[in-house]
Symmetry: C2
Subunit: 282 residues, 2 copies
Amino acid sequence: MQSLRAFLIVASLAFGAEALAQTDPLPSWNAGPARDVIVKFVQTTTDPANPTFVPQDERIATFDQDGTLWVEQPIYAQVAYALDRVPAVTAKKPALKDVEPFKTVLSGNHEAITRLSPPDLEKILAAALTGMTVEDFSVAAKTWLATATDPRWHRRFTDLVYQPMLEVLRYLRANGYKTYIVTGGGQDFVRVYADQVYGIPPEQVVGSAGATKYGYDLHSRPVLIKEPKLLLNDNDAGKPEGIHFMIGRRPYIAFGNSSGDRQIAGVHTGWQPRAPGDARAS
Amino acid sequence: MQSLRAFLIVASLAFGAEALAQTDPLPSWNAGPARDVIVKFVQTTTDPANPTFVPQDERIATFDQDGTLWVEQPIYAQVAYALDRVPAVTAKKPALKDVEPFKTVLSGNHEAITRLSPPDLEKILAAALTGMTVEDFSVAAKTWLATATDPRWHRRFTDLVYQPMLEVLRYLRANGYKTYIVTGGGQDFVRVYADQVYGIPPEQVVGSAGATKYGYDLHSRPVLIKEPKLLLNDNDAGKPEGIHFMIGRRPYIAFGNSSGDRQIAGVHTGWQPRAPGDARAS
């Protein structure tokens, strides 16, 4: 390690900062076992002479999002979005104004809102995020993300991403890995910003997903309407199930931060020892 | 056209067959409007100066499989596979031997087998293609494909692919298009051979797909078991729904050969005029 560092300094003197950036793929990471295991994973799986070599077209890496790539406290961004949409939802369906949990959300009572149960939140998510075309959903989410801010840091949600993880994404991609998000969050929601924020295109976002229904709009143009019917609950065992469904091969490295990411490490048996993000229970 | 052909001959004389192959991307296609519209589609959507230019990362092309990329008559390959597996299924569950439709399949009476109803075939597909790990499914399907032959041509199913369509796949990929299969056939079945036969990796196969269940085998290793529960029926309206679910963007060109591919053309509004494969009802 010491000699490698010495080499990096020499390289830096010889070739300038750019060369250093090329040789240090994880500049925000502290030296230590977590960083070492990632670098070792990349070096061994991309070295044809190494017994753990992985052919380039099989190099799949998966990343949980909330708490792994961006902040998840004090509230999931998607839940904040759904709560913000409740006034628009009840304006369209005024009968909901006096029905729980919508009544509590409209009250603006923060303490009561934070006490809403998971089934209550599911009702809000279903009402706020379905019943429109997939294009209308995308435009509305994009508009909200452009201005909404996190209640703790008062920054845009898409600014609250972890720099060290952005470096891991880039490092893996530079070494031929296809990077996927595998999140319990809504697939359509994450697809709105994943390309811009993480460099991950829509087809490489696996998330909880509802059904859509093919139909026609008033101008007889075909549309897909988002329905309040869950097809894939991409949490816990749903993560390896979703990976099989959407990707069809096992990832060689999987990053997560909570108990909902435990099973995803179960399907990662292609490489030993496991990378530090694997099934690190919170 | 005449002058282009003359140019090609000159180029061929000057640079040999390789240069001709480079300038004629669709050598098996007859001259005519179908070929012309494909070439025009590629030229215009990849030319930054053209108003219909498509940025490279948005270039998505989808292909139906049965009848579009390989033969579908007299019987779908996957149905032939399921029928061939019935003896193994009933050996494990002998009670099924005297139950329809398994009794008819075991009788070997070809005429009676061809008269089986769609619900009967669904029962056979469910019994034959579920209840095992995804790896065991893959190995069994691969083994069968290596030896089974088509009842009409007596050739391996994977040899009965359409050369002109292989050329279209390669031509689109050479021009930055990501090629997907979008099939009513089983996603896991097609994934077994799509990479080798069509150059399409597992993650670019969208098909009818059943649920899987995460669990553990006798050695406490995590496994995914295929379940007889349909998650995505990738036919008719299920095709655009499946494309949204799995890819998350609209294809710019879609190829199909039957009424089950009609709706897929409905979502293809990104480019005019439409390419010939679009919703060409049988």
